[in-house]
Structure formats: structure tokens, C-alpha cells
């Protein structure tokens, strides 16, 4: 055994030496990764060079939900700009330490705009943005910005409100169920908006909520949906990203909504409508900003139905005409700014007023919602 040990020791020493030499010798002065193009004047690409754009997705493009919607946005960019752009994407990038490597790789591959489509990319993008000053970083649903990084988000609560209106009118048991993902303000706001919308046509409804503690987990979403149906709900809404909830409703002969994208095909009999997110309009604007040289960092936008980012589509045939008309009115009101789903009086679960009569909630209020409105059962987790 002794010469084996000696050999191992030598191997070990050699490895350590080589590793250290490589890291120390080459590491100090070099820039990370294939050197990014030197900081040129913004967006002054040579004429025929197409603009390289990259997208980082947290889920699979085929999820039919969140990532699918983002990818549709990417395709809209391709359709709009043709061969002036070259787009690429990486899917299933986890919200973990790996994200930094992937985003850094995308930035280093010559992409001039990098879109990060989930909250968990915030810190990695900030770090990479600091090292790649000539690349523009667009972060969805986050709140940290930089000179070359800005944020964007969509007013999903508008879609939730409209779904609520339909649900309130169509329910026979007056019990609505929501399969919820993670108790962040956005999701709680959506649950509330859904409830407010339903109450506007049917004050008697109550909403039950079950949390799956994840964004995309079809088996768990199925079990949660089953549990809600078993508990008496006859219409389901979701804030999760797969079509499992709709499919469960279809199997049980109940109704449900699509979320993020049009899910009619997954539950033709159960489908009442889909609250979709159109990222196309924003993505096209972002690319245009870069091409025109008007792109500004340290800013963020929150787009809704007015800007074409949110819509309620494929409303079922059997929804009464007056409800369909009401939805159209709401849409018109959103477009011209005369309607706001969060207009007082709005009561919390304890009956106390959280928004006085006729007062419209502002973005600050909406951003910090951690309570349930009256009509939602249960307590907000933690």
C-alpha cells in the first residue's frame, strides 16, 4: 500500500499546486469571462449587427403559464423587429447561486439586453450588472435597481378582479376557492382583488384559500384544488403557474380560470376565462428604448390593462350577457383611468375600513398589502 500512498500524496500536491497557480496566476488582472465589449456609446451598434437579447426563465417554456407568457413576449419582439434582433433564452434557471453564473454567461456572450423573469434573480442580476456596465438588465417583479438595471411588473390584480366578477356571478354555492402560491403581497393582493370583484356582483360570497408554497407544482396544485372542491367551492381561481387547477375542476365538473396565459384548451368545459399577461408590449418598448438610445436605468414600471399588459380573454359562452358587458365596462374604465378595482369603501377581515369611500388606492398602498379583505376566510400565513 505504501507506494500507492506516496503516489496519492504526490498527486494531491500536484493538484493543489496546479489549481493554485491557475487561479492565482491568471485570476488577478483579467476580467471575468470572455471580455465584454469595451464600454461603447450606448446602443451604437454597427448598422447591420442585430441586437442580441437574452431571456432567463425560472421555469420551462412549456409550462403553459408564467414562463410561457414571457416566451410569448420574446416571440412578439422577434415578430416586431425581425432581423434587427437575435433573441435567445435559457429556461429552468433556478433562483439560487446558479443564476448568477447563467446571467453572467448571457451578459458575456454579447447580449445587450438581459431579461430576468422572476423575483429571485434580483441579487444575481445586481451583481452581474455591476460588472457589465454596457449591458442593460431588465428585472421582472423586483425592487432593486441600478444605473443599468431597471424593473418592470404587471398589474395582475386587474385580471384577478375581473375573474372575481365572473366568479361571483357564476357561483351557486357562494364559496370560491383560490389555490395560492407564496404569501407575498402580490398574491395576497390578487386573492383580495378576486374577492372584491366577486363581491361587486354578489356580496354573499366567501373565499377559501389553500397555499401550496410554490409557483409551479402540478401534483400539489391538484391536491389543493381537490381539497377546495371538497370543502364546498364550486369555482376555482389560482395564482400558481400550471393548468392543474383547471384540469382538476374539469374532471370534477366545476369551473375555474386560466392564469398567466390562455388555458382554454386544458379544460374546455370548466374554463370561465383566462387572466393573461402580455409581456409583448413592454418587451417591444424596452428593445425600442435601447435602439433609440432612450433607455434609462434606476426606474421601474407597473403596467396594467391600460398599456396592454393584462387582459381577461376567452370568456365562456354561458357567462350572462350583462356580466360580459360589465367586464367590457371595467376594461374601458381601466383604459381611460376612470376605474380602479381598489376604490373605497373597502373593509378588512375585522370589519374595519382600510380604504375610505371613493378613495382610490395608490401604488404604495397596493404594494404593501399584507391583510385579507372581508370575505376571505382564514389568516394570512405568518
Amino acid at each position: 500500500m505504501t507506494d500507492l500512498n506516496k503516489r496519492s500524496l504526490i498527486k494531491l500536491a500536484a493538484l493543489t499546486a496546479v489549481a493554485s497557480a491557475a487561479l492565482i496566476g491568471c485570476g488577478k488582472n483579467e476580467e471575468p469571462a470572455p471580455a465584454p465589449t469595451p464600454a461603447a456609446a450606448p446602443a451604437e451598434a454597427p448598422k447591420a449587427e442585430p441586437l442580441k437579447i437574452a431571456f432567463a426563465y425560472v421555469g420551462p417554456v412549456g409550462d403553459g403559464g408564467w414562463t410561457f407568457a414571457h416566451d410569448n413576449g420574446r416571440k412578439a419582439v422577434e415578430a416586431e423587429f425581425g432581423d434587427k434582433v437575435v433573441t435567445s433564452f435559457v429556461e429552468n434557471v433556478p433562483e439560487s447561486a446558479d443564476a448568477e453564473r447563467v446571467i453572467r454567461d448571457l451578459a458575456g456572450q454579447g447580449n445587450k439586453i438581459v431579461f430576468g423573469t422572476t423575483f429571485g434573480y434580483m441579487e444575481p442580476m445586481l451583481k452581474v450588472a455591476a460588472d457589465f456596465k454596457d449591458v442593460k438588465f431588465e428585472h421582472a417583479t423586483g425592487y432593486k435597481q441600478a444605473e443599468n438595471m431597471r424593473t418592470y411588473d404587471s398589474r395582475t390584480y386587474e385580471g384577478a378582479y375581473m375573474a372575481g366578477v365572473i366568479a361571483g356571478a357564476m357561483t351557486k354555492t357562494n364559496t370560491l376557492g383560490v389555490v395560492a402560491s407564496i404569501p407575498i403581497p402580490e398574491v395576497i393582493r390578487n386573492i383580495n382583488s378576486f374577492t372584491l370583484g366577486a363581491q361587486s356582483v354578489n356580496p354573499k360570497i366567501k373565499t377559501k384559500v389553500v397555499w401550496v408554497n410554490g409557483w409551479f407544482d402540478p401534483p400539489k396544485e391538484t391536491e389543493a384544488a381537490t381539497s377546495l372542491l371538497n370543502g364546498g367551492a364550486d369555482i376555482l381561481f389560482q395564482n400558481t403557474d400550471s393548468s392543474a387547477v383547471l384540469q382538476t375542476a374539469e374532471k370534477a365538473g366545476k369551473r375555474a380560470f386560466g392564469w398567466d396565459s390562455d388555458m382554454t384548451a386544458y379544460g374546455p368545459k370548466a374554463h370561465l376565462g383566462s387572466a393573461v399577461i402580455n409581456w409583448g408590449p413592454y418587451y417591444i418598448k424596452a428593445v425600442k428604448d435601447v435602439m433609440d438610445g432612450t433607455w434609462q436605468g434606476n426606474s421601474g414600471v407597473w403596467w396594467g390593462h391600460k398599456e396592454g399588459a393584462i387582459d381577461m380573454v376567452s370568456i365562456a359562452e354561458d357567462v350572462p350577457a350583462e356580466i360580459k358587458a360589465k367586464i367590457d365596462t371595467i376594461k374601458a374604465g381601466l383604459k381611460d383611468g376612470s376605474f380602479h378595482p381598489w376604490t373605497g369603501p373597502i373593509l378588512g377581515q375585522d370589519g374595519k375600513e382600510v380604504l375610505p369611500k371613493d378613495v382610490k388606492a395608490d401604488d404604495a398602498f397596493l404594494g404593501g398589502i399584507k391583510f385579507y379583505v372581508k370575505g376571505v376566510e382564514g389568516k394570512v400565513p405568518n
Binding site: 470572455p34 439560487s96 447561486a97 404594494g367
Partner: protein, 351 residues
């Protein structure tokens, strides 16, 4: 037809060659796979074996990925050599990360760098505690350590979720399930500018040496392994199998916990629900492919990291799904196990 014939003595040559042959088989299957999918096989091999090492940054990322695998696998090697099947390293990694985060969260702007070793020790302690549960249940109640350690992985994941959704959630974090980002003083010191490699790598290499000395140069290490290879002989010689059990589990738990601490206070910088990255399971493959030998494990950790990073790159460069990494890792282990038979048996052509 081909028959297997027992060798009079296990072949030393094959015990080195077997992992290489397994790698070769995996590569060949990989090439066939690339071709079948319509991708250029040469480009495929390049993405997996060249891109991850082609420049200093890539190498540093390789080390960042390999460090936790290496550390955990070292501990597992001790365990497996003692015939204790700790499948729950992932859970021990997580509890280690949690303990480390707990210490890191107490840091303020004025805390000194003394907190760094405390964080690492806390991690090791957490991992040892979690593995200790498995050891206790096996020691006292004969409960199968495979199943217990595995179930504890799921429990650990839920403990992590509870903390990040609840008591440890960042109050300034918009209710997102994550702790606040740790103060910069808690960050594992980096080895050099421009790369994410931190002192974890040094600890890992130190661990390699320590493990080697323990296994091959100390009496305790010898007793440990005999218990695994021949329990009856061990009992006859008076080696305590109880002691061996505890040492095995506490060592691997401590290593896994330390790896968790280094990750969470290093590249991640906070506690999130995404800390479970499967390293505890991948490390099992690393341990085996490395022949349960500290030096071999260094190489296999690097190899596995190449598969991870190559798989990521395969997406953006070749349009292949990232899950190809799992395919290669599984294939590698399968091939290795198959090739290992050549150590004890020889292939003979018989009529």
C-alpha cells in the same frame, strides 16, 4: 459466450482503470445521444469538457461548484467505508446551512471577521446534530439509517421553509420568503478578485488531507473501515461498531453541514427556499466515482461539476435541456458500478 470468472485477487489495475472506463462509456453514450438529437457531438463534448475549464473565470466557477460536492463526499466516504449508508447528507447540509444562517443573521455592521469561523463551525455543528439523530435511532432502536436519514431530508426542507416563510423572513423583503442578505462581514473571504472562489476551497483541500490521514494512517481510521468490511472480524478484534457508527455519521454530518455553511455564507449570501440544490445526493455519486478515496474524490468532484456546468451551457449553446446533466451523472454511476465488477471478476470467452 462471455463469462465472468472470479479473480484470485482483486485487480489493482482495474481499480484505477474502472472509473476511467466508466467515464469513457458515459462519453460514448453522450456522443451517441448528441448525434441522435441532431447536435454536433464534437461541440457537445466541447461544451461539457472544454468550456468549463477554458479560462480562469470558468475554472473558478468550476471550483465554486465542486467545493460543496467535495466536502460532502469526503464525509460520505468515511461513512460508506464503514458500511453506514447515510443517504441523508442533503438534510444535514440544509440544517448546517440553517445553523450558519442563524449565526450570520446576528451580525451587524460592527461585527468583526471573527464571525466567519463561528459560522463555519455552526454549520458543522448543525450537520452533526442532524446526522446524530439518525445515529441515535440506529444505535438505540436499530432503525435503518437509510430510511431515517432520507426522511429527515424532507423534514429538513420543511424546517428551512418554515424559517424563511416565517420567523426569519426579511421584514424589508416585501414578504418574499427569504432572509435578509447577510452583512458583508459574514461573507466567506474570497481567494481573489473577480471570482467567487472562497476559503471553502482551502477547507475542502485541507479536508482531503485530513481524511486521507485519518483513513490510511490512524488506528481509529483503520478500525472504522474494518467495521465496514468485516463486521464479525471487527467485533472479534474488539473494535466498537457503535463507536464506528457514531464517528461515521457525525463526520459525514459535520462535513455536509460545513458545506452548507460555506454555500449559504458564500455564493448565496442569504437563506432562501432554494438552498436545497441536491448536492447531498450528487455527493454520493462523487464519493463512489472517487472510489471512496480522498484523492479520487477530488477528481470526481471536478468531473461532476463539469457535468453540472456543461449542462447549463448546453442549454444556451446547444439548445439542449438542462436535465441532460442528470442523465450523464446517472449514467456515470451506472457505468462505474458495472465496470467495478472487472475488479473482482475477469471476462473470459468460454465455449
Amino acid at each position: 459466450m462471455l463469462r465472468l470468472e472470479v479473480r484470485p485477487q482483486p485487480s489493482r489495475a482495474w481499480s484505477y482503470a474502472s472509473p476511467l472506463l466508466a467515464l469513457l462509456i458515459t462519453v460514448v453514450i453522450g456522443v451517441i445521444l448528441f448525434a441522435a438529437l441532431g447536435k454536433d457531438p464534437v461541440r457537445g463534448l466541447q461544451v461539457f469538457f472544454w468550456e468549463p475549464v477554458k479560462n480562469a473565470y470558468a475554472l473558478s466557477e468550476l471550483m465554486v461548484k465542486a467545493t460543496p460536492l467535495l466536502i460532502i463526499a469526503l464525509g460520505l466516504a468515511v461513512c460508506f467505508r464503514s458500511n453506514v449508508w447515510n443517504i441523508g447528507a442533503e438534510g444535514q447540509y440544509l440544517i448546517g446551512a440553517i445553523f450558519a444562517a442563524g449565526v450570520a443573521l446576528t451580525a451587524t455592521k460592527d461585527t468583526g471577521p471573527w464571525i466567519v469561523p463561528v459560522i463555519v463551525l455552526a454549520g458543522a455543528l448543525g450537520g452533526m446534530l442532524w446526522a446524530g439523530i439518525t445515529a441515535l435511532l440506529r444505535d438505540r432502536f436499530n432503525a435503518n439509517e437509510i430510511l431515517v436519514s432520507l426522511m429527515l431530508v424532507y423534514v429538513a426542507v420543511q424546517v428551512l421553509n418554515y424559517l424563511v416563510y416565517g420567523p426569519w423572513k426579511d421584514p424589508m423583503g416585501y414578504n418574499f420568503p427569504q432572509t435578509k442578505t447577510f452583512e458583508s462581514v459574514t461573507q466567506m473571504p474570497r481567494l481573489m478578485q473577480g471570482s467567487r472562489v472562497n476559503i471553502g476551497l482551502m477547507l475542502a483541500l485541507a479536508g482531503v488531507v485530513a481524511m486521507w490521514v485519518f483513513l490510511f494512517r490512524t488506528y481509529a481510521g483503520y478500525a472504522q473501515q474494518v467495521g465496514g468490511l468485516a463486521p464479525a472480524a471487527a467485533r472479534y478484534a474488539g473494535f466498537s461498531s457503535r463507536k464506528a457508527l457514531w464517528i461515521a455519521l457525525l463526520t459525514s454530518g459535520g462535513m455536509a453541514g460545513m458545506a452548507g455553511a460555506l454555500e449559504v455564507a458564500g455564493p448565496i449570501g442569504q437563506l432562501t427556499p432554494y438552498v436545497p440544490a441536491g448536492y447531498g445526493f450528487a455527493a454520493i455519486i462523487v464519493a463512489f466515482v472517487g472510489r471512496l478515496h480522498p484523492v479520487g474524490i477530488v477528481f470526481s468532484a471536478i468531473l461532476m461539476s463539469m457535468f453540472y456546468i456543461g449542462g447549463e451551457l448546453a442549454q444556451s449553446r446547444l439548445g439542449l435541456p438542462k436535465s441532460i446533466t442528470g442523465v450523464f451523472q446517472g449514467l456515470l454511476l451506472f457505468s462505474l458500478l458495472a465496470c467495478d465488477t472487472l475488479i473482482a471478476y475477469r471476462l473470459k470467452w468460454k465455449k
